[in-house]
């Protein structure tokens, strides 16, 4: 994706800048951007390493197991088709907990494992199942409890209160998560009914 976006961004800006006589500004911005990316990464070193260290402690304790237990009713509601498959439900909840704690590096491999387990149960190998659909959609919903990256960006820009956005982020995440789950449930329902009517016609 970036192999397309990156050159397009640069070439369009350079062309537009030259046409408008903004060449000096562009020159200046190239070097400013380079140094501000270094600045951001220096802040990232602090915050991301700190958070990674804390989360490493969490991974070694039973916090994750406890959280998976709390999530159980929610997972039964979201994935009604896996009611009997305890191991898949376990994997799904591990992935969700990793997402909530912001363990991006742990969440993706766990998620891929879930997809592989779900694919084993799938009868049409090239088509997505409703459980997979719900699972992927939830993974796009960003359930992160502490938005560390944004806090890092904000503190690198000397914000008066970098963590102030945590609560608004929770609200926005929650609204979107509810919207996503409802719309996916509706899509799944419509999809199933479509197949029923096709079968009836046959």
């Amino acid at each position: 994706m970036l192999n397309i976006i990156w050159p397009v961004f640069i070439l369009i800006s350079f062309a537009y800048g030259i046409l408008n006589g903004n060449v000096d500004k562009i020159n200046q911005s190239i070097f400013e951007s380079a140094s501000s990316s270094v600045q951001l990464c220096i802040t990232f070193f602090g915050t991301i390493c700190l958070w990674n260290g804390i989360m490493k402690i969490a991974q070694k304790t039973s916090v994750i197991v406890k959280l998976t237990k709390i999530l159980k009713p929610l997972i039964n509601f979201l994935f009604p088709e896996c009611k009997e498959q305890e191991n898949i439900k376990q994997e799904i909840s591990m992935n969700m907990v990793a997402n909530i704690l912001g363990l991006g590096n742990a969440a993706t491999p766990l998620g891929l494992k879930v997809m592989k387990s779900l694919q084993k149960e799938n009868t049409k190998k090239d088509t997505i199942t409703s459980t997979m659909a719900m699972f992927i959609v939830i993974n796009t919903a960003s359930l992160q409890l502490i938005p560390t990256t944004v806090i890092a960006i904000r503190s690198s820009l000397n914000s008066a209160n970098p963590t102030k956005i945590i609560f608004p982020v929770w609200i926005a995440t929650l609204c979107a998560a509810v919207a996503v789950v409802i719309s996916t449930k509706i899509f799944i329902y419509l999809d199933k009914n479509k197949y029923k009517t096709i079968r009836r016609k046959r």
Binding site: L2, I5, I10, F45, I136
Partner: protein, 183 residues
């Protein structure tokens, strides 16, 4: 409102203490584990840097050449209709496509308009509450060879839309009040 602000500030210390207390209760070598984890964080940032550098330059070029302003001007009639600040729209569009590009763009927006300005705060919230939708769908479906994804993209994008529109229009009123009363 004061309580909500307190909750925002207390979230990190609370989460950290819970985890550390758990570690102590279960007799882990808490500090050794912390250092081990922090070391892994180092690698993440080092790997991230080249990507960010490239995208910072691209976004910086868009901003300084005036393309970004032009884009904002073009879409402003539509965004005005929903009373969304049009300066935010480029971020809302890039966010589902690329994580590092949106990091660069959000940083640029916050630098240009101020971290603690209204636009800066909305940009922060968009960054914090959304995920790189296209990337996530691509990686999860391609790993098991699924080609027909039916309604998944639509459902995920509904989420992004709700987040952006909802946040920018309705929630914004709430959030702006929230920030103003606490400043």
């Amino acid at each position: 409102m004061k309580f909500l602000n307190y909750l925002s500030s207390a979230a990190i210390p609370i989460v950290m203490s819970i985890i550390i207390v758990y570690g102590l209760l279960e007799k882990n070598n808490v500090y050794d584990t912390f250092v081990e984890g922090a070391k892994e964080g180092l690698e993440i940032v080092v790997k991230l840097f080249p990507t960010l550098l490239g995208l910072f330059i691209a976004i910086g070029a868009l901003r300084s050449s005036g393309v970004l302003d032009l884009l904002v001007k073009i879409i402003s009639p539509i965004t005005n209709l929903f009373s969304i600040p049009s300066e935010i729209m480029p971020l809302a569009i890039i966010r589902p496509i690329s994580g590092s590009a949106s990091t660069a763009l959000a940083t640029d927006i916050m630098t240009t308009f101020g971290v603690d300005s209204k636009i800066g705060l909305i940009a922060s919230t968009i960054m914090g509450s959304t995920e790189t939708t296209f990337y996530t769908i691509a990686i999860y479906t391609s790993c098991v060879g699924i080609k027909k994804i039916k309604y998944v993209l639509a459902a995920a994008l509904i989420g992004d839309l709700v987040r952006n529109v909802d946040f920018c229009s309705n929630l914004r009123i709430f959030v702006v009040k929230f920030f103003l009363t606490n400043q």
